[in-house]
Symmetry: C2
Subunit: 226 residues, 2 copies
């Protein structure tokens, strides 16, 4: 029996790396990386390529592409150099300034178009709802609604599921699941502002460090404070 083909959105970060490790248990991978003018784009792309190599994804099933519109519009600390990346700690109640307006809709649209061209049956995205960013486009309802958009907006014979395998996991559970599955966490990059070593103080580093601490393992990537 032929294995299903899954388009996996791989940012270079930890959550999507663990999603790839989960998807590869059942599917062939098509690895999709999308840059959108974020500060650490080159470092994230390097992490993506290293992970795609790890999973043995052939060049014909790798796509690196970009969303120039998000950088042009600004409105987020991730894409607008005038808005500083916060280092003051996590405030889970508010929408952070690192929210890139409606970004995950662009990522899903890109993945679904590619899936339709390739004939892939799944799109996999590493959104985390509960123990994470507070971004509205990481919520379960968003993905439920997007499933109906795919049904309505693609060819009648197209069937593409959206998988969000880590959406209900805590960050610590993601670390544990990754280690269980042998996901190459040492090849991932999460820092929002540095590219040589992780800063350790931006929202993304803080979430990651807390997750490894809770999981009781040492984060394999280098930090400024090491």
């Amino acid at each position: 029996m032929t294995r299903a083909l899954a388009v996996v959105l791989m940012s270079g970060g930890m959550d999507s790396c663990v999603c790839a490790a989960i998807a590869v248990l059942e599917c062939e991978l098509a690895a999709l990386h999308v840059t959108y003018g974020q500060r650490t784009a080159d470092r994230e792309r390097e992490a993506f390529e290293a992970q795609a190599d790890h999973y043995g994804v052939p060049a014909s099933r790798r796509l690196v592409t970009s969303l120039p519109s998000l950088a042009t519009m600004g409105g987020s600390a991730l894409t607008d150099p005038l808005i500083p990346v916060p280092e003051g700690g996590l405030e889970p109640e508010a929408i952070p300034v690192t929210y890139v307006p409606f970004r995950n809709a662009h990522l899903l649209a890109t993945a679904v178009s590619w899936a339709e061209v390739l004939g892939a049956q799944r799109v996999v995205i590493g959104a985390v709802q509960d123990d994470s960013s507070g971004y509205p486009d990481c919520r379960v309802e968003f993905y439920e609604a997007f499933r109906r958009v795919i049904e309505a907006g693609t060819r009648p014979e197209t069937r593409i599921a959206i998988d969000t395998p880590v959406i209900h996991l805590s960050k610590a559970e993601i670390v544990r699941r990754g280690i269980e599955l042998g996901a190459p966490l040492e090849l991932t990059w999460s820092c929002y502002q540095r590219t040589d070593v992780a800063c350790g103080v931006c929202d993304s580093c803080r979430l990651r460090l807390r997750a490894f601490e809770q999981a009781g393992v040492r984060d394999p990537v280098p930090y400024a404070s090491d």
Copy 2:
């Protein structure tokens, strides 16, 4: 009272030009043009700028951006030079080879992100369901489903409606409505394959010519056969 702000997706074609003429009755316009590697991109952009000038849209509320991923993926006669644009007449039952997989999801995502950054209350798109292309992402159900995605995937205080003012009109009715409202139809471009004069034989030209004929007016743009 301040007028509402509407982000209008303006392709350079006739349907979105008439949408702009409808939107401007009630709203200030923010004009958005998105290229995606289609054959006639430069000509369409020229048409967009001319229409934005006509409607007096200031530079700060014009955005020209691109979706490089759609061209990279191919899968459509509009973006893949290896797939010929059909000239054999209209077949309303099948999905045409000019369908760009899930394209309108990318266009809406772009418009919604910009609307969220600008604080605009509406996104306007010139999709035509009935008397048109047969593209799945032009159907009412697609826009209904996308409204729920916006609600779920943007900031809690964000309220962005999707307007599809011509979705139930026939192409002939769009021409008539455009003429009633003084829409600059002479500044629009619809041809899928030529940029000097319209070819008159691609799907898009055939639909347009039939619409003007049914509306009983002469199409103001030049054709190869003139």
